[in-house]
Subunit: 262 residues, 2 copies
DNA sequence: AGGCATTACGCTGGACGTAAAAATT
DNA sequence: AATTTTTACGTCCAGCGTAATGCCT
């Protein structure tokens, strides 16, 4: 029966050219390598070397065998990797969400219900969530609309946040149409909110600032409007004396649905 | 490092369901198998089994690992087979000839020049010889026409053999056109002669008899014409008092060329 | 009670290293 | 003289089997 360790030494010999160097490489004695190569010939049932009195080299069959040896070793490594990856995947709950708020909410619950499990989460577009659910490359998907087998999870409503001196501050409520054209501060990684706003407000420009602290600083220092939701409002979000104006469009009042696989 | 023998036991466990049965299958003790499976988990770096106090079964990762194990074992076997095949091929001179006579002649020489080498020979069509040479799946090809790098090997001329009382027996020489329509006795495995005759004599029927003794018996007992060549004539071929008439077409006077690779 | 997995433990064969031989550079 | 392969030989440990334990059916 073939031995992978011997095959490894064999491949090393093809690279290094002498048994001594292989012995050095593997921290073994030369006789040990000699025996390994003899065993290998035994296992293949075929001569792999042409031997002089104090020199050994691959014959034609040996050269061909090196190729198969390398392939086998590579596939053995691959197999180990794949099994490990599979195992990790088993211990991991992969979540893909269209928005941050319901993801955070879900993560809290998961930490409670599945303690010790690894959790891998991503915020992405609706379509990606659906694809991922379809190909079972995630365990849980969060979408802003119901799908087969999903349950209602939470609601979130979008607001415009402006300083009191802003011209929009007088309004009691707004529509996307009314704010279309104004430039907004935006934190990226907002999933579907982001794309939805860009669709509903094609005339607006969005200044993206990923870093949270920098974003907060901009909110404080500038008079640019930004978005906020009641979910975030209830939390630690500082408003720097800004005014919160609800958006009346139905698209701004979202219900999130959670779909769990098996 | 993965051990193929342990993987084999692992695959067997997937089939048999208990370590005891695996132990029986491999003529080993149960503790030995237990240790092998523990080593395997160590090698993969991952738990492969769910264990009760006196029962063990594959977990999800284990089930996945079985697939990779089987694949690896199969590829290891394949590798051994391929290397052996390659080795055999190295020790073998593969000859493909379009006709028997030059093949026999060449084999005599090869037994002389390459004693101890295995020789694998086939009689086939011209096209097959050329394809085989092209893809280097043979070492020597014999063709009835010259090709790049080939050398002239021998000549062979085709004759018609008929009993003295046959109507053709009066002729001193013949053409394919004149014998077209007569039915002929034929030994198959004649390579290009066979197809050439069928092309030149589309109106004739050919009674094929592979077995040499049966063929000779037919030649003796019937008055059907058959083919013969000067090469065979010079040898042991009995003619049973038949008359040999040369065919004058250029296609009946063949020069064979030998092409040797590397 | 019989079957199964695992641990404990003693033994042995195989694998390794050292030493030495023989040959090549 | 240095390097390389291979054989000989002694040592030691990994891997095996036996026995025993605990558990389940």
């Amino acid at each position: 029966m073939l031995d992978l360790y011997e095959l490894k030494q064999f491949a090393a010999f093809a690279d290094l050219g002498t048994l001594s160097k292989v012995a050095g490489e593997f921290h073994l004695s030369t006789p040990s390598i000699t025996r390994s190569m003899q065993n290998l010939e035994e296992s293949f049932g075929v001569k792999l070397f042409s031997r002089g009195k104090n020199r050994i080299e691959l014959n034609e069959t040996g050269k061909a065998a090196v190729g198969y040896a390398r392939k086998l070793l590579q596939e053995a490594d691959r197999a180990v990797e794949q099994v490990r990856a599979f195992d990790l995947r088993q211990k991991t709950i992969v979540v893909r969400s269209c928005a941050p708020a319901p993801l955070w909410e879900l993560l809290k619950k998961l930490n409670h219900t599945d303690p010790g499990k690894m959790i891998s989460s991503t915020i992405c577009q609706n379509e990606e969530v659906q694809v991922s659910l379809g190909e079972k490359s995630c365990d849980i998907g969060i979408l802003p609309f119901p799908v087969e087998g999903a349950y209602e999870f939470m609601k979130e409503n979008l607001f415009v946040s402006v300083p009191p001196e802003h011209e929009l501050a007088r309004q009691k409520e707004l529509t996307f149409e009314e704010i279309n054209g104004f430039n907004f501060l935006l934190r990226t990684e907002l999933g579907f909110w982001d794309t939805m706003c860009r669709e509903k407000m094609p005339a607006s420009k969005f200044l993206v600032q990923t870093d949270t602290e920098a974003f907060n600083e901009l909110v404080r220092a500038s008079s640019l409007p930004c978005f906020i939701t009641d979910y975030i409002q209830e939390k630690e979000m500082e408003d720097y004396g800004r005014i919160r104006i609800p958006i009346t469009d139905p698209e701004a009042k979202v219900t999130f649905y959670v779909k769990e696989l098996s």
